[in-house]
């Protein structure tokens, strides 16, 4: 005969297991919605550092779109995830740096209804992770307010003695306000002007970043360099297309050695060479990396400003941007000027296939074909 108590216990067991799992899931959900997962309490983090901070680096990694790519063995990767892992390693390997990492992730929901935080922030100082928080990204206007709030909360307050860098990883940043940059917020617009506004706030005391790196397609246009150049002294960008395996960041691994003399322009050129060497090894599509000395390119930028602005205004009125094409500014006679090559160092290799496979060089400036 069956023991009635045993049956009772058994019948109660499954609901208990289910409730326990439910509670566990709820705890996970609540923790994911909580104010963050600060690794150390803020008061502990703000304590006097024993090691001086010489480098302040901000990384913004956009991940809310299609960032899938394959290597030559057909293994798949997600550019944002790969970059995040690499950037964390760099943060750990630089004992004299403070590193801000903002990972802009796709929106997600718990049980369809409860939105989860779609930004993740990491703060490293002296090679150690000091804070890791989830935050809400801008969902309408792109103003970087939330990133700025975190930056201001954690930054070391002696920036005049530090070398500062800002690195952005993502798809091409539109030159005129255009929706569709974020897969999760299809109506949200994002443009170069928005990034410039953000940079302005990150450099509040009017000092410019020593180095700005744009790991995107078509970052080397007169408009983009002109606009972002207000907040940086040296810019590294890809004027033409850029494969999603992005810029190699090996040069940032040991800044104490590679930036020993504090010469950022020389460092930027070595950095660009390293990026170029890495990309040309495996990539069959075009590889173009340019280093812009922002002060030296001003003459050229001013001389082409009105022509380029006219192009932009015309293009921004077109219903669809799908058919608009880029080209080397040197292919358009009106942009060819004596100052065109001044202040730009270009590393270029054409695509191995396609119409432009025999193109020998690039001016470093990308324009629009009207």
């Amino acid at each position: 005969m069956r023991d009635p108590n045993r049956r009772l216990v058994k019948s109660a067991l499954w609901p208990m297991i289910f409730v326990s799992f439910g509670c566990a899931a709820l705890v996970i959900f609540l923790s994911s919605c909580s104010g963050g997962q600060t690794v150390q309490h803020e008061s502990q983090k703000i304590e006097e550092d024993t090691i001086a901070v010489r480098y302040s680096i901000i990384f913004i990694i956009h991940g809310d779109n299609d960032y899938l790519y394959h290597d030559t063995s057909d293994n798949k990767f997600y550019a944002n995830e790969e970059t995040l892992a690499e950037v964390k390693r760099i943060a750990e390997e630089n004992p004299h740096a403070e590193v801000f990492i903002f990972h802009q992730k796709p929106a997600s929901h718990f049980l369809f209804f409860f939105p989860l935080r779609d930004g993740e922030f990491y703060y490293y100082r002296n090679g150690q992770l000091r804070a890791n928080e989830l935050y809400w990204r801008d969902q309408e206007q792109s103003n970087f307010n939330l990133e700025l709030e975190l930056y201001r909360r954690f930054r070391v307050k002696n920036e005049r003695e530090m070398l500062s860098m800002f690195l952005y990883f993502g798809h091409e940043i539109p030159e005129f306000a255009k929706a569709g940059y974020d897969a999760s917020y299809p109506d949200r617009t994002f443009a170069v002007q928005d990034l410039a506004n953000g940079l302005k706030e990150f450099t509040t005391d009017s000092a410019r970043f020593d180095l700005l790196v744009l790991s995107t397609c078509y970052g080397g246009t007169p408009f983009t360099v002109g606009m972002l150049g207000n907040y940086a002294q040296t810019i590294i960008a890809s004027p033409d297309n850029l494969h999603l395996s992005y810029f190699d960041l090996k040069s940032l691994e040991s800044l104490d050695i590679s930036l020993k003399d504090g010469e950022v322009p020389a460092f930027a050129n070595k950095f660009a060479q390293q990026i170029f060497d890495k990309l040309t090894k495996d990539i069959q599509t075009v590889v173009s990396i340019a280093v812009y000395d922002v002060d030296s390119v001003q003459e050229y930028l001013q001389s082409v400003y009105s022509t380029y602005e006219h192009s932009l205004n015309t293009l921004s009125r077109q219903i669809s941007s799908a058919a608009i094409e880029h080209c080397d500014c040197a292919d358009i006679p009106v942009y060819i000027m004596p100052a065109m090559n001044r202040g730009v160092n270009v590393f270029y290799r054409s695509a191995r296939f396609g119409r432009s496979k025999n193109k020998q060089n690039h001016s470093g400036w990308e324009c629009w074909k009207e």
């Binding site: 899931a25 299609d66 992005y246 058919a323 191995r352």
Partner: protein, 144 residues
Amino acid sequence: MKSLIAFGSMFLVFVLAMPVNADGNGELKKYFSNTASEVKAADNAVEKREILNESFQNMSQTLDKVLSSGLISDNDRIGIEQFKTILQEKQNELEGSNGYDRVPDAQLNAFANYVVQDMEQADTTITISVVVLLLIIILIVLLV
């Protein structure tokens, strides 16, 4: 049975917490990445060329079907036309027609990588909506 329900419920809880990512562009990339894998695994150049050619043709036919469906917006139509042009250019290069030099036999693996990498640029030029991209993927699966 109850254990199955409990497990199923837990599974749903975790699955629903994951981002819903209807990634049509990613599926297109996978399609050409699979083609590249097949090309590299093929024994000879004739076979490699055939795999590439078939892959372009299947995709082109699918795009034609979507275009003629009348269900797509003007923006999607422009995006699909642009994508079709890109594919046609690649097919021309493979064959050596329309002003292109024919891709040499020894470079077919590299060309297959080029086709994949050309779709994996950090730009925003192909603008086809997710719904239409998914439609393309469904049709290509049915066609192949």
